[in-house]
């Protein structure tokens, strides 16, 4: 077959290009504008080169937030992915109970972020919250306003409660798609439960797990509302993640230049990390490949 080159085809891409330009590129350009210029108001801008970027990178406060952000995403992924798979494996495969359990599991997913934050704020209070009271009376002093560890525990638990269901649902769908013949072959080959998981289920789940990891990473890396409602970023800076810090910079201090530079780098880090996850997980497929 001969390939015909027709540059007129570019016109067909034009509508999408315009749409993306208006929805993403142009708003982003204003941020870019702020990131490279300084202004004293009156809509007058002065070229500032990379100074804002340098300032942001050198800031201990922002480095701290970045480190906390990575730690938070790592903890959340390490808990939610295995836990989600484990729960999906134990769910009933069909019938009334399967539907009921799925509906119940999906409940946290439809609760607004603010509400989730409020629920956990109250839940964790040492005087009236169930969690706070129980831990305080049986174990140790638990105060998310004073103790960084308490604050972290609550923020992580909250995210696990809110989002593990997503991983469960994805993994459940992946498990349902495995043909019965594979399990039959496993039984014939006298595979142990672990071997069935390791060599049949896990490989077949790879696709949905890639999506789960990407979604959970991006979401957790950009988390704002829930910790803001529960801890307000405190105590001190203990739970100040990148978004909370960014909002403080942009709206609290009205430092638009550094905030814009910060935003661009934030965006690039999320993009970079997603690319890394995607590349690593798809490369694992080809490893020891067929060629």
């Amino acid at each position: 077959m001969r390939k015909v080159q027709n540059n007129g085809a570019w016109l067909l891409v034009l509508p999408v290009f315009l749409l993306v330009a208006f929805s993403a590129v142009i708003p982003l350009m204003t941020v870019v504008n702020y990131a490279f210029n300084d202004s004293f108001g009156e809509n007058e801008f002065f070229w500032n080169g990379f100074d804002w970027f340098k300032e942001v990178i050198d800031s201990d406060r922002i480095r701290g937030a970045l480190w906390r952000q990575f730690l938070f995403s790592a903890i959340v992924l390490l808990i939610e992915i295995p836990l989600g798979i484990a729960i999906a494996l134990t769910l009933p495969k069909r019938g009334f109970w399967a539907s009921l359990v799925l509906v119940l599991l999906a409940m946290p997913l439809v609760i607004p972020w603010n509400v989730v934050g409020t629920i956990w704020q109250v839940f964790a209070r040492g005087d009236i919250g169930l969690l706070g009271v129980v831990i305080t009376s049986f174990w140790a002093d638990f105060n998310i306003g004073r103790d960084p560890l308490s604050a972290w525990i609550v923020v992580v638990m909250m995210d696990v409660w809110h989002w593990t269901s997503l991983v469960v649902l994805l993994a459940y769908a992946g498990l349902q798609a495995i043909p019965e013949a594979y399990y039959q072959a496993g039984r014939i080959d006298q595979a142990s439960r672990w071997a069935i998981f390791r060599f049949i289920e896990l490989p077949k789940l790879k696709g949905v797990l890639l999506i789960a990891v990407l979604l959970r990473f991006m979401d957790s890396f950009m988390i704002y509302t829930e910790p803001f409602v529960v801890t307000g970023g405190g105590p001190g800076q203990a739970t100040t993640f990148l978004s909370i810090d960014l909002v403080k910079t942009a709206l609290g201090q009205f430092d638009l230049g550094p905030a814009a530079a910060f935003s661009l780098m934030y965006f690039l880090v999320v993009l970079l990390m997603s690319w890394v996850f995607y590349t690593v997980m798809t490369a694992m497929d080809v490893e020891g490949g067929t060629q």
């Binding site: 013949a181 080959d189 490989p203 067929t290």
Partner: protein, 361 residues
């Protein structure tokens, strides 16, 4: 290795079966000898796969028992039965190499790595995949994957039986013949009990020492190819086995005579006066075309199929086929089909009827 016995076994997919028709497998007693090569032959949907899955324990029977040797294994899970099964469509473990796939059943048993290595090499040779041993299984073609499945089925030496569920469906014809020969050889070499499910009579008759023909959830007959040919126990067997199948006519039988309409056919023995739907059957191999006797037929066409000639004819609305050797020239005016009395079978409601005791001599 063990003898496999099915004791009053039946299966239904319904919770409350009302009558016989709701059973995918009707109650049956079968015994598969230790080390035998069996084929399970029948049309699609006759219960072959269900029966196989019950033997391997992938499905629990509604009633009856499965016995390996002297042990009742009805309640045992598949893994405990130590049985191998190859499915119709390939199942390979995607993330493993061909070698790891073949070694998987052995590794699950905790076998010594050197022995695994040797055994895998041996099996790879049988299925002709020595060169591809270290490739990932995922990128292979369907028939290569099926060869891996076959290899995994044969890799364990101590299995009670190896079950094949139409394993060569996805394999190309040339390879099909080769693999079947290999399976035969393996059977002779290791003496595993093998049960081979197929709907292809050539495959069944060339693979097996004994063939079980299944029909509507029943084993219509379990016998050697010779027995299936000479003494089919059911009209289905007569019709299903052979090419073309048995000629069947509605008839009235009285002692040593059968009557097809006004035409009288002599029988070799006394069959009494059977009641019900009575049919007589005769193989085309024992049908001659002559000028008189037998029943009159309209000859439709003659097919030359190489070693012999198949004559297609019709008596009323019923097809009559005859196999003639090439030397047999069709005599002028030969318009009657004549049957060899010794080879005529009498069937009542589908099942073969034996001659009346003592009167057959």
């Amino acid at each position: 290795m063990a003898r496999i016995r099915l004791d009053n076994l039946a299966h239904t997919y319904m919770t409350y079966p009302r009558d016989d028709r709701d059973f995918a497998l009707k109650p049956m007693n079968v015994e598969w000898e230790d080390g035998g090569a069996y084929a399970l032959l029948g049309a699609s949907g006759c219960g072959k796969t269900t029966l196989l899955n019950i033997i391997s324990g992938l499905r629990a029977p509604s009633q009856g028992r499965v016995i390996f040797g002297d042990t009742d294994v009805t309640e045992c899970p598949t893994a405990e039965r130590n049985i191998a099964q190859v499915f119709q469509f390939p199942v390979v473990y995607d993330t493993m190499t061909v070698r790891q796939n073949l070694a998987f059943p052995l590794r699950n048993r905790g076998m010594d790595p050197t022995r695994i290595r040797n055994r895998v090499q041996q099996i790879a040779k049988v299925i002709g995949m020595e060169a591809e041993l270290d490739r990932k299984a995922r990128g292979l073609t369907a028939d290569a994957k099926q060869k891996i499945s076959l290899g995994r089925g044969m890799v364990r030496e101590d299995v009670n039986a190896i079950l094949f569920d139409e394993p060569l469906t996805v394999i190309d014809p040339q390879m099909k013949w080769e693999l079947r020969t290999q399976l035969r050889r393996l059977h002779q070499e290791f003496g595993h009990t093998m049960i081979y499910v197929t709907h292809d009579q050539t495959e069944a008759l060339t693979f097996a020492d004994k063939v079980a023909v299944m029909f509507e959830g029943r084993i219509a007959q379990l016998g050697t190819p010779e027995e299936l040919f000479r003494k089919p126990q059911h009209t289905f067997v007569g019709y299903f086995i052979g090419s073309p199948g048995m000629n069947l006519f509605e008839a009235e039988v009285d002692g040593r005579q059968a009557r097809i309409g006004p035409h009288v056919i002599p029988l070799a023995a006394d069959y009494g006066r059977p009641e019900g739907r009575v049919q007589i059957g005769i193989r085309p191999e024992f049908t001659r075309i002559a000028a008189s006797g037998g029943i009159p037929v309209d000859i439709l066409r003659i097919e030359d199929v190489g070693r012999h000639v198949v004559l297609r004819a019709r008596h009323g609305g019923v097809a009559v086929n005859a196999i003639l050797s090439e030397e047999d020239t069709l005599a002028e005016g030969a318009t009657h089909a004549v049957f060899d009395p010794a080879e005529i079978g009498v069937f009542v409601d589908g099942w073969r009827r034996d001659p009346v005791e003592g009167a057959s001599a």
